[in-house]
Amino acid sequence: MKAWRWLRENAVMIAGILALLYMLTPIFVIALFSFNDPTGRYNFEWVGFTTQYWAHPFAITELTDALLVSIRLAFFTAIGATILGTLIAIALVRYQFFGRRAANLLIVIPMATPEVVIGASLLSFFLTLDVFKLGFQTLLIAHIMFSVSFVVIVVRSRLIGFDRRLEEAAQDLGANALTTFRKVTLPLIAPGVVSAALLSFALSIDDFVISNFNSGSTVTFPLYIFGANQRGIPVQVNVIATMLFAVTVIAMLVVIIQQRRAEKASAMRPEEIANKPAMSLPV
């Protein structure tokens, strides 16, 4: 009976954790095979345990270069797309203006376009225009282009229903528009903006199809892997993929532990205020 009650109370959490496990299953497999010791060039079957590839994760120069290109690209994409997308989201949610539906449509259509079409059409465009040199520039342009729509959607779903009186209150207290934005609006929509930035970073680092057309002779991490797949993916790819994952998880854990320390230091819980704005004001 007690077990049943516990199960019922925690059903959502259990379902959530199961869903997460499902999402992480391939990661476990990838991590496992980073310790594999294949004799040939294929890393599909378990042969034996070794840490030799972890000892030399950056032994393949082309792979390391490709990884660095991807990280740089994803970083700038996240910044660019988040800024452009957040501004659009604010305009769409906050203002009534002529052309709003057209703007909305313009946001949605890129997401309804097959990647191969975007890739091919952008390539012809770049070549016709002959202003940009195919490579990092054109990749960045393309990645920002396809990430903007996602940013808009994520940020605006946070903005809709957002309590505007908070901003009005700030302005009543004498804050100008910019200060209000910085001190009130931004912190309130921050979780949405951060998840949008994270999403565009992830979309960029994961993209293959569009990059393939517009990369010139620049090689990104997915492009390298796709090509390497022709001859057998080196174990280092698994090592690096696992590292990327581990590094970011550890970084998250550090942030969380520091948050806890800060909580102990003060009875106030700052993230309570930041995350639950609606609770601090009467509706």
């Binding site: 869903a19 391939p26 259509i109 097959p114 465009f125 779903s157 949405g192 680092i205 990327l244 854990l253």
Partner: protein, 289 residues
């Protein structure tokens, strides 16, 4: 003066992003649209001939793959919603200080790039794997059956790959849900189920709509999952477009197929939004107020 300025503000906010989209999306697409009405080959060049037959051919010849794409994407979207909602709910309300970590874990798989993830799924689901044995024991898969190279594998792959696109907007919607509404709901309705159906679900509808769109649209145009996890006769329209562009190099028909796919998606989008009754994407004035 101030009212003029105030009226210009939204355009100022929109300008950088929309110009970006117009220059790097609309113009290239216009170009493609023109190509879809031309005839020719790369050897002879392409001439404008207003060849609307490119469209009729595309639709009549590949209706199976169109249908299959929408069917697979539809099932995958429903599965994503069923898996994603409890996950987003758990992250928003139950995770406490682990919230950010869990949220991150949702996006983290992207960092390993899809090809490696898909190869990992092939390892997990191969014909003699423990996972498939379990499914056989449960009689979910026939004894002499398989999972890889079936529609089930393609749908599973789509579900897996697009789940984050469902979870993130759901989370964003749930996260700003006022908890006091839930408490009020608990007082008003007897059961948690009732509270969920009458309060949580309606309020998070914009998130659901956004999640469904973000999952369904890219899933319908996808070709990677069908390529690696599917077998024969499981190709989606994305595979056809891909092969028309890159293998057969029939650019005109490839462009016509792409526009047809986009048009169907847009029509479905408009109908869906009217049906869903929320202004989630196109007409959200009602919602914003």
């Amino acid at each position: 003066m101030t009212s003029v300025r105030r009226r210009l503000v939204p355009y100022g906010l929109l300008a950088p992003g929309l110009i970006w989209l117009i220059v790097f999306f609309v113009i290239p697409m216009y170009y493609m649209g023109e190509l879809s009405l031309k005839t020719g080959t790369i050897e002879t060049g392409y001439q404008m001939s207003w060849a609307f037959s490119n469209y009729t051919d595309a639709i009549s010849q590949y209706s199976t793959q169109f249908f299959r794409a929408f069917y697979y994407a539809g099932v995958a979207t429903v599965l994503c919603l069923l898996i994603g909602y409890p996950l987003a709910y758990a992250i928003a309300f139950k995770a406490g200080r682990w919230k950010n970590l869990m949220l991150f874990a949702v996006v983290a798989p992207f960092f390993t790039t899809y090809l490696i993830r898909t190869i990992a799924w092939k390892t997990i689901l191969d014909d003699s794997s423990p996972a498939v044995s379990v499914l056989k024991t449960l009689h979910l898969v026939p004894q002499d059956g398989r999972v890889l190279a079936t529609s089930a594998a393609v749908i599973a792959g789509l579900t897996y790959n697009f789940l984050p696109f469902m979870v993130l907007p759901l989370f964003a919607a749930l996260e700003r849900l006022d908890r006091r509404l839930l408490e009020a709901g608990k007082d008003l309705y007897a059961s948690a189920t009732q509270t969920f159906l009458k309060v949580t679900l309606p309020i998070t509808m914009p998130g659901i709509v956004a999640g469904v769109l973000l999952t369904f649209i890219p899933a319908a145009g996808d070709y990677v999952n069908a390529t690696f996890l599917g077998g024969t006769n499981q190709a989606m329209i994305g595979n056809v477009i891909q092969s028309k562009y890159l293998v057969v190099r029939d650019y005109s028909e490839a462009a016509a197929l792409s526009f047809t796919l986009m048009a169907i998606i847009l029509v479905a989008l408009i109908i869906y939004i009217k049906f869903a009754g929320t202004g989630a994407l196109m007409g959200d004035e009602e919602e914003a107020e």
